[in-house]
Amino acid sequence: MNRHWPRAFGVLVLAAATGTAGAAPTYTVVPAQSSLSFIGTQQGEKFTGVIRDFDARIAFGTADLAGSRLEVAMRLKSIDSKSPDRDQAIATTDWFDVAKYPVATFRTLAIRATPTGAVGDAELTIKGHTQRLAFPFAWKAAADGGATLDARVTLDRLDFGLGTGEWADESMVGRKVEVVVHLTLAPAAPPPAAPGKPPVAKPAHP
């Protein structure tokens, strides 16, 4: 009886952490194979900005959409747009005001299945402006138990107070910005309370 305590405790902890037993599996990002970037237009020319520093908390499983969620925190100081001058400009108060709003956040409130794939009802907060958006994404399970997540959404920079006033003029910087997400995910390590075997709560059917 006593010998079984640790195992049972582990299952309890996991159940508490994810809400329901057998909930959507969680993943961690493989940074070297993941990228978060946006494509803007400056003076008729497209440029790509890469957000190098971000964390993501990902839980996803088609069997448990209610327990699935995507959460990303982006540290905007790490934006690299292949032009140090532009990166400096991007950090100023007219644009991201990075000193005051260093982090942008993204989270899904719900994820639903549609005929064309999963769609997150999400909230994106940049520079203190929170906007709701639909976030359709392609989820591909990988053989190693990991997965890839790919998405493209187009935003209007003015919705987030980016480049208002004089900068609103589109001939200099376009209003539409396409965000491109490519995440390579590894299955999250099992919690330390259950070494060895993964603590599967569901009984295996023969």
């Binding site: 400056q42 003076q43 008729g44 440029f47 292949k82 001058d85 004089e166 001939s171």
Partner: protein, 183 residues
């Protein structure tokens, strides 16, 4: 009259000379004025104008050189050999700078990762990928080139005035916009 003769420069050469001189005066003024502007769309617009005019000058320099290669040069007024040589050397150097200054500007622009658009009409490719080290070299070359252009242009212009007022030969008249030539 379009072409140069033994005594005078043709109309095409004169148009190139004085038209480009006006554009150079404009782009140089803009160049020195714009770098101190506070960052904002206004600054980018002035930069865009500088680059558009600069690219125009680059294209004009190419056309001018092509035209010049098919032209004869009017016989120079009598002058000491070293002066004739200095004048020719200055002309060659001015031609070289007419290419080098805009090209280094383009290179600087590329290495800085800035976009390049000609009067809102079309975009031109970068000459090189974004590169901070190259950027500072190209900037140095662009600024030095512009400076040389001013110094040489002024010396060359002063020489032309010397021919006109001291030597009283027809050198300046042979290039003035109003058709005229050496007596």
């Amino acid at each position: 009259m379009l072409r140069s003769t033994a005594t005078t420069w043709g109309v095409v050469t004169r148009l190139f000379h004085w038209g480009m001189l006006l554009l150079f005066a404009g782009i140089l003024s803009v160049g020195y004025y714009m770098t101190d502007l506070p960052l904002g769309p206004q600054k980018l617009k002035v930069y865009a104008l500088h680059k558009s005019v600069g690219l125009t000058l680059l294209a004009l320099a190419a056309l001018r050189l092509l035209w010049r290669l098919g032209e004869r040069r009017p016989l120079p007024a009598p002058m000491p050999a070293w002066q004739a040589w200095a004048a020719s050397a200055a002309h060659v150097a001015l031609y070289a700078l007419m290419f080098l200054v805009p090209l280094t500007g383009w290179l600087f622009n590329s290495a800085a990762g800035f976009p390049l658009q000609w009067f809102h009409l079309f975009n031109l490719p970068a000459l090189h990928a974004s590169d901070p080290a190259l950027k500072s070299i190209a900037k140095e070359l662009h600024e030095t080139g512009a400076m040389l252009l001013i110094v040489l242009g002024l010396a060359h212009g002063a020489a032309a005035l010397k021919h006109h007022f001291l030597d009283r030969d027809g050198t300046l008249a042979s290039m003035l916009p109003v058709v005229g030539g050496r007596r």
